[in-house]
Symmetry: C2
Subunit: 131 residues, 2 copies
DNA sequence: TCCCATCTTTACGTTCGCGTAAACTTTCCC
DNA sequence: GGGAAAGTTTACGCGAACGTAAAGATGGGA
């Protein structure tokens, strides 16, 4: 895996479409360099894309993810900007903690429902074989 | 809270709109009774709505949620139907378990980023007060 | 040099999950 | 009995996150 990748290589590596990558760029979530007209993606772009896809799996909107990505940018933010970025980041963190907690209960619930349904299924099946 | 509720009472209780409730019904996720033209929601409807909203928070589509809700219906499913329902339910469960695990890492990550950003912020602030 | 593969922009199309009128019944209650 | 309130259906609209088709630029290799 070379330091710099074309759009095709990115798509293969992350299982996304070129359209999606250009779309994320148009929404200012990634900023690949250009050689002529062509886009070139480096390590930083890949790191950002990893975070984008993870955020999507958690159900965050691209705009929420964009705000989170600001947190990872070292440079040029002033106090008020950084402070606002931190505020929204703390909200996302709360979302994630809540989600994590609620998932535990939901997993237990669903497991029980599956167990019960499996019992019903095997009852049905044995009905057939013993009937 | 009475046994049977009107659409308005449901909306107030669950913080959803009438449009959303009718939409879920059109997608066959809930089946309120009718008194004349009006819809009436009972305990079973409320239980289903609770699961619907929970599923939404986990990022599931209404169609995925509808399939999950089939698991909670006691009656009229035959073997093949129940077996298929179980298969998709196990997939959802896997989704949730994966999500739960991934959330732990992401939470740790985000906490660290927030900590670092807080450090940068207080550095900036003390720069100002000490400069 | 020419051609094909790969990239590009532009722009309209699509699915999901509702929002939002518009026009009509139905019901409540005084 | 007579409104106003609350409910109903029908249908068009909308934002998010891309899909997809069209048409042009570019670069590489026989």
């Amino acid at each position: 895996m070379s330091e710099i990748m074309t759009i095709r290589q990115m798509c293969a590596a992350f299982d996304v479409t070129p359209r999606a990558l250009r779309f994320y760029e148009s929404k200012e979530l990634i900023f690949p360099e250009r050689r002529g007209q062509h886009r070139l993606y480096d390590r930083r772009d890949r790191a950002r894309l990893t975070l984008i896809l993870r955020g999507k799996r958690f159900g965050f909107s691209l705009e929420q993810i964009r705000q989170l990505l600001e947190l990872y940018e070292p440079g040029g933010t002033n106090r008020t900007q950084l402070s606002a970025t931190l505020d929204t980041a703390r909200e996302r963190l709360n979302d994630m903690v809540r989600q994590h907690a609620e998932l535990e209960g939901a997993i237990v619930d669903l497991r029980q429902q599956i167990d019960e349904a499996e019992a019903r299924l095997s009852a049905l099946t044995s009905d057939k074989t013993t009937g």
